[in-house]
Structures are given as C-alpha cells and as structure tokens.
Symmetry: D2
Subunit: 392 residues, 4 copies
C-alpha cells in the first residue's frame, strides 16, 4: 500500500491556515460550559501541526498574550509559541486585535461613544500590530466585533463611520511609519455579538476603502459564514472583491442562513455553495491564505478536533479537484459554451461609448421575441452539476 497517495492531502503550498481560537476552541457557548480543555498557544500549534499540511497559524493579540499577562509571562508564551511554530514549520501569515472580549469594548472600539475607549482601541491595535510583526504577519485583519448597536437611539451611524475612518487612517499611517508592511483586510459581519453591526457586508468595506487615506493598503477578508447568515450569496460578494483587486484574505467555514454564528467546518452545510466558491478562487487564481475560521462541534473531543481540522483541508482539496474536472467536463462545458453567446458586432458598439456607436446601437433592430426564444437549458445544466458533484 506504500504507493497509494491520498490525492486530497494538503501541503503548505495550499496556504491553509487556522486561528489559535479555532483549533483551540474549548466548546463553550451562551448556554453551556467548555467541553474541552483550554490549550496554550504552543499546544494549539502542536495540534495544528500534527494534522500535517497546514501553512500557518493566525492570532488575535489576546489569543497569544492574555490581556493581563505580565511582561515575563508574555515573553515565555512567545518563546514557547515560536518554538512550536518552528517545530512544525508553520508561519504566522495574519494577525488581528481582540477589540470585543473585554468589557471596555462593550459598546464598540473605534466607534465607541467614549473618546477614551476609541483612543485605547487604537493604542491596543498599535501594540497588537507590533506583536504580529514580531512573528512576521503580513496581513492585518480588522473585524469590528462590537462596532454597532442594539438600539439606534444609542449611536449616530454617520458619526460612527467617521470615527471608524479616523482610526483606520491613523493606523495605516502607523503601519507605514513602522514599516510593518501590513496589508489591512476588513472583515464584515451583519450581526452578533451586536444586534446590528456597522459595515455589515463585504461591499460596505469595499465602499469605505476608496474614502480612506491609504486605499491601496486596504482590502477585505470576507468570511463565508457572515454573508451567509444574512442569506446573501457569499461567492458573489467575494467575486466583487476579487474583481476590484481587494481580496486580500479569506475566511472559510460554513453556516446555515438566518441564525446564530455557527462557524461550522467548511463545506459541512451546503456542498454546492462551497463548490462554487472554490471554483471562483481557483478560476481567478486567488493566491492569498485560506483561513479556516471555524471550530469543531461542541461534542468533539481533541481527537475529533483533529478530524475537524483535517476535514476542513480535505474538503477544500476535494472541491478543488472537482473544479478541475468540472472545467474539463465535456457535457458541462459544451452547455456553458452554448449559453454564452457572443456577438462581435454588437459588443464592439457597446464596449466604448462614441456618438457613432450610440447612433448605431439606437438604430439596431432587435427582435425581442427571437432573443427571448433562445434556449437556456439551466435545469439540464444544474442537474448535471448535481450529478457531477455527487459522483453519480
């Protein structure tokens, strides 16, 4: 059996990453206590490394260094963590700030109504950027976990936007000034833990970026579960970011629509949706990290957490291999060719405006009836996809 190679075995070239808070998640939830032991950062790195094939480990500042650690404790943790990373040849591609757990942020960080809290949030982020840089992180993620409201009486949403921008502009300049070389990646979420969060979808951040002082430094980190919570098509949102050159980082997991944040294993709820995301990333040659921002079921023990981590990567590889086959599938491709109808003459007219093109276009005689009758065998195509994805 020595020669049999698992075609879905991940390698560092796949750039699969996990957060300390994902594989290290102890299984607590609003209605129940932890079901797994809390692990040290180094132990989590070991757990990730032992699965084989991962590329890196990401952290929030306080995943690594508790908010109330002494300098000596911090130094020891960093040492152990660094050793574990080396042991497993894992990098730290991304870092981020925890601006949501501590009670100080109970009403927001960059958008808090309290100027002192806003200043502290920037201060904390500056330190956290320094920490990430020490480990070589090149992506810096911003998820505004507490930026929002339950009652709109409490905060002015226009003011909140301005406050958020001010903080980011400051931090972009700090990034330059310190030569950290970070790319900033904003992560949107519609709700939870706040009733309504600002910048609720990826598009909200794509819209913010051009209004920043350093738009070139900023992109997005869309998370599968977040658009999905609101019933939106995640792949479409990622596509807009990709097309704009702003897909810096991506968070993979799964989620059922219209409920609490589940952070399920990638692909575990809706295989078809996961497939079309992998297809987009593959077809458009996304090269950034693929971060699994998810955790094992609360029922899982440490061994099953391993299945969760391996399964996350395997699922991506399986879908990636399906993409390759999909793109070569004669029946499917022939249908797609049939469906995509070019028209060189008309396309030339509409590609760029000129008075002549406009005139010619206006003078064109279109037959609605004829156009409407052209065949679009989408049931045939989608049924083929079903049978293809199921291996039937």
């Amino acid at each position: 059996m020595a020669k049999r190679i698992d075609p879905y075995m991940p390698t560092p070239a796949d750039k699969f990453t996990f957060g300390l808070w994902t594989v290290g998640n102890p299984g607590a939830d609003p209605f129940g206590k932890a079901t797994r032991a809390v692990l040290s950062p180094a132990e989590i790195v070991d757990a990730i490394g032992e699965q084989g094939g991962a590329y890196g480990v990401n952290f929030h500042d306080n995943d690594l260094i508790p908010i109330d650690a002494t300098p000596a404790e911090a130094a020891q943790i960093k040492k152990d963590f660094r050793a574990a990373l080396r042991r497993h040849k894992l990098r730290v591609p991304m870092a981020t700030t925890n601006l949501f757990s501590d009670p100080v942020f109970k009403d927001g960080a960059f958008t808090s109504n309290d100027a002192e809290v806003r200043a502290y949030a920037i201060h904390k982020t500056m330190n956290a950027m320094q920490l990430g840089a020490e480990f070589g992180a090149k992506f810096y993620v911003f998820w505004g976990g507490r930026e929002g409201t339950e009652s709109d009486a409490t905060k002015d949403p226009v003011v909140a936007t301005k406050r958020f921008r001010e903080a980011i502009d400051f931090l972009c300049d700090y990034n330059k000034s310190q030569k950290f070389g970070y790319k900033f990646a904003f992560e949107a979420k519609p709700n939870e833990p706040r009733g309504h969060m600002y910048f609720s979808v990826t598009g909200s951040y794509l819209a913010l970026i051009p209004t920043l002082k350093h738009p070139e430094m900023c992109g997005v980190n869309p998370e599968f579960a977040h658009e999905t919570m609101a019933g939106l098509n995640f792949t479409h949102h990622v596509a807009q970011a990709l097309e704009a050159g702003k897909l810096f980082h991506i968070d993979l997991n799964d989620q059922e629509i219209g409920r609490y944040d589940q952070d399920f294993r990638f692909g575990s709820v809706n295989y078809k949706a996961a497939f079309f995301l992998v297809k987009l990333l593959t077809d458009y040659k996304y090269k950034g990290p693929k971060h699994f921002d998810s955790h094992a079921y609360r029922q899982s023990d440490p061994k099953d957490v391993g299945h969760f981590a391996r399964g996350s990567m395997r699922t991506y590889k399986i879908l990636e291999s399906k993409v390759e086959k999909f793109n070569k599938n004669r029946k499917i491709q022939s249908l797609l060719n049939k469906i995509n109808r070019d028209n060189a003459k008309l396309s030339k007219l509409t590609r760029n405006f000129s008075k002549a093109n406009a005139k010619a276009l206006l003078a064109t005689d279109f037959s609605r009836e004829k156009m409407a009758k052209k065949s679009l065998p989408y049931e045939e195509l989608d049924q083929l996809v079903f049978e293809f994805l199921n291996g039937a």
Copy 2:
C-alpha cells in the same frame, strides 16, 4: 372647526413621490389574479393628485408606454399623462427602465450571457432615458431586477460585474453626450425575482461607483424593504451612503425580514425602525425625493388605495414631527449627552497621525477597569424611546 389644521398634511415641499406602479398596482401576486382594475397612467396621476400634497410621479418606461405600443398610441398616452401632471401640478423627478418583465430579460439585462440581450438592454435604456428627459426627470434609477442567478453554474460573477460596469459607463457617456443631466441612482436588492441578485446591498453599489468612468454622476437609491429582507439595518446602510455624499434618492416602504418582497406601506411593520430612518434623513438634511415604492394590500379597493397613499405621507410627517420632539426632549437629550464622552486631549492625538502623536498615544496609561465601569444607561434610554414613540 375651520381653523384646525392637520399638522401632518403633506405639501410638495416634502418631496413625496409615487411610482405609476405603486398607486396603480392592481393587486396581482404569484398566487392570485388582480383585485383592482388596471388604470391608465393619467388615471393614476389623478389618483395620486387627488390625495393632495404629493410632489411627483415616477415611472419605468413601460409603465407609461407599453413595450409594444405604436408611435401613435405612445403619443396619445404621453399627451394624456402630461395633461394629468399639469392638472395636479405634479412633476416627474425620476425615471427608470423596465429591464425585468419581458421574457427577453429572463436571465438578465446588462449581465445577460447573451451579447445581443446586453446590447438591447442598453438600447432600451437609451430610449427610456430619452422618455424620462421629455418629462424633466433628473434622477435615473437602475434596479437590476434580473441581474443574478439561481444556480451559480450559469454565470460567472466576475464577468457579470465587468458587463454591468461596461453598460453603465456607456450610459453615463450617453447621458453627458445628450446633456440629459441625469444623476444615476443604483438600487440594490438581495433576491427576488432572482435567487441571488448581484450588487445585493447598497454597499455593493457604493463599492462599484469608484470603479466607474464617471463616479461623480452616480449614487444610490436604497430601498427600505431590500436591506430589510436580508435582516440588515437599513438606516445604517443609508447612513454610509449619506456620509459618502451618495444618497441621491430613496425608496420608502416596509417589509418583514426573511420573506418575499412585500412593499408594504412605509412604517406599517416596524415603527421604531422607520423612526430612526426619518431621524437620520432629518438630522442630515436629506433634500432629495422621498419615493414611496410600495402598494396597497391586495384587499384594498380604490378608495382604500387612497388611504394607503395618504397614510404613507402622513406616517412620514408624524415621524418627522416626532424627530423634532425627540431632538428637544430634555430627558432623552440629557442621557445622550451623558453617553457621548469627549476627551479633548486624546481626540487630538488620534485625529491625525504623527510620530509624536503615536508615541504619546502608546505612552498613555489607560485603565480598562475604570473605562469599562462608566455608565451606559441604554435600557433607560431605549425604554424612554419606547414611551416617547408611543406617546405614553
């Protein structure tokens, strides 16, 4: 009683507008036939005018001129429509194109897989822009009713974005070339009639605009029901548009979260949400049209449609008057003042980056515990809002 004046009586200065398709809606739905007679455009203008207080009437090209009308028929309809507008001193502030009803658009207009359909959609829009201009419209709305997919096998979302941009760039140039003077306003919607629509939320369009050839010409037309369908906070999305100077037009109605497009009377589902929207528009002095994109219940007869139209405007006026009182309410304002805590010294540090400011900020000693303990009486505030809004 002659002197008693209704404080909620609308006037044209309020800029309330209705679409031909709203007051003229005959009450059909996917499961049932029309319950009201189909009215001519002139009859609809009469119905709107008779309520008193409206500012204008908007249309899709084919609300006014049926897609298969002869030139003679079109001329007669326009004449009658114009006379009715004059009769009631109503304007046409906004026009738009129907790119969704005809079977030719069954798989999209600007993003169709068929180049001929894409060209026809531009051609149709050019004609519709001409029609709107004849009636003095200054806002041109784009709602991509069929731009999307049911199965993501059928269309490439990156390509779709490019196709959409190409069409808009062409039409912006056409707008300039014809000196129509339109402001373009994009209207997002997450789904229905397509399973997933591109540019699903207002932010998606705000993100697209800076990538267009003529961003200055383009803004958004958010619709209350559309973000609400996805459970998002409409007011937050409008606030982002406002802050970016891109709120050109707005569609007011109501909707329950997570279901079919209901287009209910403004304020009829959630008074509190409607109040905070009116507050935002009032506080930030929004001056554009307030368009009621809604229709009466299917049970309503023409007289009840009148109640619907009057009620839409009255509700806005009632909430507007509540905003004024809210902003003067001593108890509420005193709580808000307490909640918003400035800190001149820290704000000065964070306002603009400099190495000195960064250094000073890093050196600041923050007490998390103290900050976390500052009072945020949000239950008290929100309960006050409840009692205020209910007149208790």
Copy 3:
C-alpha cells in the same frame, strides 16, 4: 453497451407525481410575464408522460377546469384529460381546491371575515372533491393559501382557528357521506402570499388534528420549501408526522432559507438536506406519493422543463441509492454504533414509571465527568458523510 441500464430510471412503483401546475408552469413571476406557453391539462399530461416513470398527476380544481368554464367546456376538458391519462398510464392520486387565486378569496377562504366567502369556500371544495373523486383521487390536500393576515388588526387568530375547524369538520362529514374515501392532508406554509399564514408549520396542523371531529381521516402534506423558508429543519418536521402516523402525502422541492417561495427542483439547493429526508422516508418505509411541487427555472424552454421533470425523479433515485449504500457503509455504521450507547439496566428503569423504578433511578450514582468524556466523533462522522455524498 446496449445492456447498460440506468440505475436511476424511475418507475411507477416509485410513486412520483407532478401537479398540473408544476410541469405546466408558464414561468411568470411578480416581476415578469410568462416565458412559456400555457398548456392544456392534456398537453401537460403528455409532457409528464413523455419523461417516463411517473406515477400520477395531481390537480387543483381550476388547474383542470377554469373557474368560469361552461359545463360543455368542462366536459371536453375532462374527456381530453382522461384520454391523456390513459395514454400514459398515469393516475390522479391527489386533488385539491384552489382557494387562493380568485379575488373572492383575497382575505381568506375558510377563515375569511365574511361568512358568505366562508360558505362559498366550502361549497367550492365540495365540488372540487367531487371532481377529484371522478378521477379516483384518494388524497385530498388542503393548503390555506390566503388564510392569514398582513396586519393583525384585521382578523382574530382564535376565531380563525375555530372557523377553519368548522369548515374541515363539515368537509370530513361530507367525505364520509359521499363515500369519497379521501384522506385529508394539510399543508402548512409560514408566509406568501400572506404576510403571516395560520397553521404556519406542519406541527401546527398535527396539533389541530386531534381537535377535529374526524382525526383519523386527517394527516399532513409537508412541503420541503415551506419549513425551509423559515429556516426550520424539514426532515425533523416530517419525522414528527411520520412517528405520529400522520404523514399521508409529501411535497418535494427545494428552497433557500429566508426568501420568496422558490419551488426549485428537489435537491438543487442543498444536497445534504435532501439526502437526510430521503433517508428518513426510506428507513421508515414511507409508501405514499412523492409529489414534486416545483417548477422549472423561468429561463427554461419546454425541452428544459423535461430535464427538470426527469431530474427531479433522478435526484430522488440517486439519493435513495446513496441511502442504501450509507446504511451498508462499514465505516459510517461502525461510528454510528459507537455513538449509540445502550444501557439495559438504566433503560429498564426509565421505560415505565413505577415507584420502585423512580427510587432506583434517584439512588443511581451518575458520574457527570465520566459521561461527559465519552467520545462523540461527530466531526469525523460528518466529514465521512461529506466525502460519501460527494463520491470522493
């Protein structure tokens, strides 16, 4: 290759049925006109019959006989329809009443605020039951398409329940009196076309049935899309009906959570959810009709409607064959055996109450820690399911 037989070819023994309104759906929606020709009932039967393998065709009274048909027209339609059924050896297992399309039902049928409308709804159902009986239907479905409200000011929900019960009790007696031999099957739906519909989920009807005069005659007809619209787990709801012996009929289709009624092809949105439904029906030997209450995409032409119909049946067969393999899969079954832990001694105590059992149970010394530590490898299991379903 002549001998190769398609293992997923349906046969009448599968009891797959289609409604006249499904394969005959012309593709209109709230935003667009029909994209396909309206077919006569006989033509629809032909279209179904030509796919091969179907068992039957179901109808609403007015799918077959337009509400305003003359007796002569009705007679001709019935004759043609009967001939088509015979031509294709198709039965009519189920019939139902259209109590939602005509404006008379705009505010409900059995629960209308108007006693005359309520009486007419019963009258119309009596006639429709007669029509179904003429074609041998044995299941009679009740979907209260207009029983509900948009504003709860308009109707008293307690009164509505009583009105609904009165109508059903009357019709059960009528069923007996006429010896139609129908089984009544109630179909729940949370919303659309009403803002909120009474008896919004399958459980609501299961709860109503024991309060009826003839509970034995009544069961449910759950529809995949309906519980799914509300984000509920359809399979769990079907399981409760099955366990109660009340699963008389089932409607298969697909739907994304939290949006308009999509009636997509079975299995086309979420393969995994469809699989576990088929598993439940297979494991518990459901023998009733499997009705595809769905329609082709609006883009489809008649040929593609054929793909839709065949695809619906194929998908079920594919999933059914996967169930068989799942139930034999050694790895999966071994995990399931491990997970399901019996305990003969304790089970004996809890199976039936007695003072002695209660005492013994209270005296039992349970170790929470030990129990909590038992392994539940649910990630491993669910990942196996993913790989199994994808044929990886």
Copy 4:
C-alpha cells in the same frame, strides 16, 4: 402633584415574573466576558423586589443550587433565598431544569444517544422538581436546550421523539406519584444552541401532547423570541395554544428575525407585534404568569438593569392600557364591525354537517364578483392602528 399616580405601575395582580437568570444575567456572550458581577440568588431577589410590583421569581435548579454545591452550601443558599423572597413578598410560580449547560448534555438530555445520559437527565429533573416543589412552584417548564443536531447523520429524529416522550411520561407519573401538582409547560425553540432543535415551534409540542400518557397535565410555554427568530408570527402560535386550552405559561421578550437569541426587553424591537400579543392575552383573559425571559443589554450596569426590569413591566402595562382604548376606539371598532360580515342563513348551513345542509349549500348561488367587491379597508384600518399606537 402628590396625587398623580403612575397608571403603568405594576402590581402582583399582574403576575409579572422574572427568572434568576434574567435580572441576574452578568452580560457575557460568545464574544465577550461578563460586564456585571455575578449575584447570589438572594441578591437577585432583592434586585427584583426593589423594582416593586413583581409577582414572582423563577429558577432552573442550578440557578439556585450550583450543580456541584455541597448539601451544606445548598441549605444555606435555600435559606437565604427563602428569606429574600419573604422580604419582598415574592413567590416562585415556576421552576425548571438546566439540561443544557453541563458538558454531560452536550448532545442532548432526554434525546441523547447515550442511555446513561438520558437516565441522568430524568434523575436530575426529578431532583429539580423536588426543589421547585419546596418553593411552591406550580408550573414546571421543559426547554430542551440540547435536544437536536448539527448534522442529521448523528441522530434519528423519529427515535428522538420516542425518547422524549418516554422521559415525559415517566416524569408525569412521578409528578402524580409525588403529588407535586405541577402543570408541565413545554417551550419550543428552532435553533441555538443546537443547529436544529427538535420540537422547533409551539405547534410541535401541541402536536406531541395528545400522544403523551397524561395530556391533561401538559401544555406549552411559548417564548416571544423563539417563534420570532424563525420569522413566524408569535401571536398566531399563542392563539392556537390558547384556543386549545394549552397556554399554561408565557415568556415575554423581544428579538429580531433571523439571528442569534437576543432576549431583548419586551416590546423593544417591534411595538406593533407586542401590542397584538398583549391584545390577544387581554381579550382572551389569560390568567397565568407573564414571565420576562430577557436580560439587560451588555452595556447596562446594575442601575440600568433596574430600568430594564421596570421597563419590561411598564411596557406591558402601557400596551394593556392601549388595548383597552383600542377596544373602545369608535373609529377602529366601526371599521372592524364593517369588516366582519355575518350571514345567519349561510352560517347555519355550515355550522354542522347534515345531508340537507350540504345539499342546500351546494345549491346556493354565489356571486364571486359581488363578494370580491365588498370593501375591506385594511390600509385605512392599519394606518389608524399606526396613528393610535403612536399617539398621533
């Protein structure tokens, strides 16, 4: 002004109750630590008592006695709790079991796949029933917080139903045997903390009850937030329970559709929905406890928690007073009278089946057109409701 009495001051006759876990909620959530101190049961009773007007305090076994308390600790806690209750003249109308926090229940209690866990869950409930009885509780609530699945591979939903029934039948008998005199009240929830919970809506339990050994002992405890999470109309579900004589207890709070469990202050999201619930309870003279199963915002300090508790009761009283006015409002009542059309002759025919009635009904000549034309001024009515509720 000394004589002015607050008309919205609650009294024990209102039967408002709070759970220990509501006013005592420390403000932790999945993304953040507690923002308020953990209080002892006696301290929570003090906090409730100090607001004035409450009727009682409810608990889960482990709200009162920690799961690992020694007998001596338990005795002391009970003593202090009892003293506090006396101090404030508060009762304990309801008790319940925590079958969800401890890791032992990570995959369910009564429906666990492990027979030992199932037995322990019954054992724990027996003890908890004893504890509730010591404090005079007469309602015993069952919320199956962990009864459900994330992946349907893990548990058979038919088996789960049977397991649940077995546990309840046992506990009903225990209730009788111990002469506790409890009424059992089942509380449904669609999801969270499980991906999908069994008995997901109130109707599911109403359907289960007639299949139990002691249906007369069992009813429901619907919770506003739970049906609302799934976008269902809570009032309709309560109405079905009321009509069936099964509304034993009710949980009041608020929630936005389609997201995590928010447990907001009653009435704080949607005033209109809250009003129609209070109207139902008032009109149908519901006499059971009105339990506020909610908690203050995470931003609130203890003083603001007081505002939350008082606000909850005040909101109910305000809405109750509005119901009284609504029922006397001449304009609204006159519209309602107009809308509800009786027809003595037809009602007599449909009330009870007889062959003669059936014949007469079939022979009745209905004019659909005439019936469809009868006026239903629902926009007028709903706009009146808006203006009425807003005090305009």
